[in-house]
């Protein structure tokens, strides 16, 4: 019996992703959330990072607010990119998300950009 010859080029990743979205609701919802996060990243990278991290850890805004000792509205505004809290609050939020907050100092020396990271605490 003659064997079937397959092209080494498989299906496109975009086509496979569309098929997954058509049959899996959780996947489809997550793709929509990542699209929103991507759009948010243009306006506020900090907000986008925190929203993405909270989403992936399966935490609600209320849970993060309670654990970080701040209000739900503060987290909500932070994730919309309309408000950046003070550094100690941001540091507590980062800790709830199992991360550490660092600040980056940037300077230009002889045309070369240098970065230096420092912990907030």
């Amino acid at each position: 019996m003659a064997s079937v010859l397959h092209s080494p080029i498989g299906k496109s990743a975009a086509k496979a992703a569309k098929a997954r979205a058509d049959r899996n609701v959780a996947y489809r919802d997550a793709r929509a959330e990542y699209e929103r996060i991507r759009a948010l990243r243009e306006a506020s990278p900090v907000a986008a990072h925190l929203r993405e991290r909270r989403f992936e850890l399966g935490l609600t805004q209320e849970e993060v607010a309670k654990a970080a000792g701040t209000s739900h509205s503060a987290i909500s505004r932070l994730e919309k990119g309309t408000h950046i809290p003070q550094l100690p609050t941001l540091q507590r939020i980062a800790a709830v998300l199992d991360e550490e907050l660092l600040v980056c100092f940037q300077r230009t020396v002889d045309g070369e950009v240098e970065h230096e990271f420092a912990a907030v605490a």
């Binding site: 397959h6 299906k11 899996n24």
Partner: protein, 162 residues
């Protein structure tokens, strides 16, 4: 601001062999018709649909729709493994995934995917991706190319069926 992935390049062409169009990520398919990266994602979909969404989103954002003449997406989105072999780096919650891929004209061939638990990509994972790319190229070269059919004034007499 990061450069737009759809920015049009005004760079001069490096020659006639330059691919046209935009990059497209495709799965490597073996001789039996199996697509290992897609199979991994389908398996993962059953238990971690959000992780698969993140990986597909990263493929869409960083690999699809780019000008093939542009440099590869910068670190930390992707990084070079060896030669033309690169990795797409995806972190979902506390898990890191790596998709090894290589460019072939305007196709970005997704060769291998795995959960990364160590500091560097293992030699075994690298070899697996390299072997698949060797197979991809060999089979592409083995496919006979037909010249485009002549049409219009170049068509041979009777080509339009009279």
């Amino acid at each position: 601001m990061p450069p737009s992935k759809r920015s049009s390049s005004s760079r001069p062409s490096a020659g006639n062999a330059q691919p046209r169009g935009r990059t497209q990520a495709v799965f490597y398919r073996d001789k039996r018709g199996h697509e290992p990266v897609d199979a991994f994602l389908e398996d993962l979909l059953r238990t971690q649909p959000l992780a698969v969404a993140k990986i597909d989103d990263a493929i869409e954002e960083h690999l699809n729709g780019r000008d093939p003449r542009d440099p590869p997406p910068e670190f930390p989105a992707t990084s070079q493994i060896e030669g033309e072999l690169r990795e797409l780096r995806v972190r979902f919650a506390r898990t890191r995934y790596r998709v090894l891929y290589q460019r072939s004209r305007n196709l970005l061939v997704l060769l291998h995917i795995f959960e990364k638990n160590t500091g560097t990509v293992s030699a075994a994972d690298r070899r697996k991706a390299e072997a698949r790319m060797v197979d991809f190229r060999a089979r592409m070269d083995a496919i006979p190319r037909r010249r485009p059919r002549a049409t219009g004034r170049d068509a041979p007499p009777g080509a339009h069926g009279s």
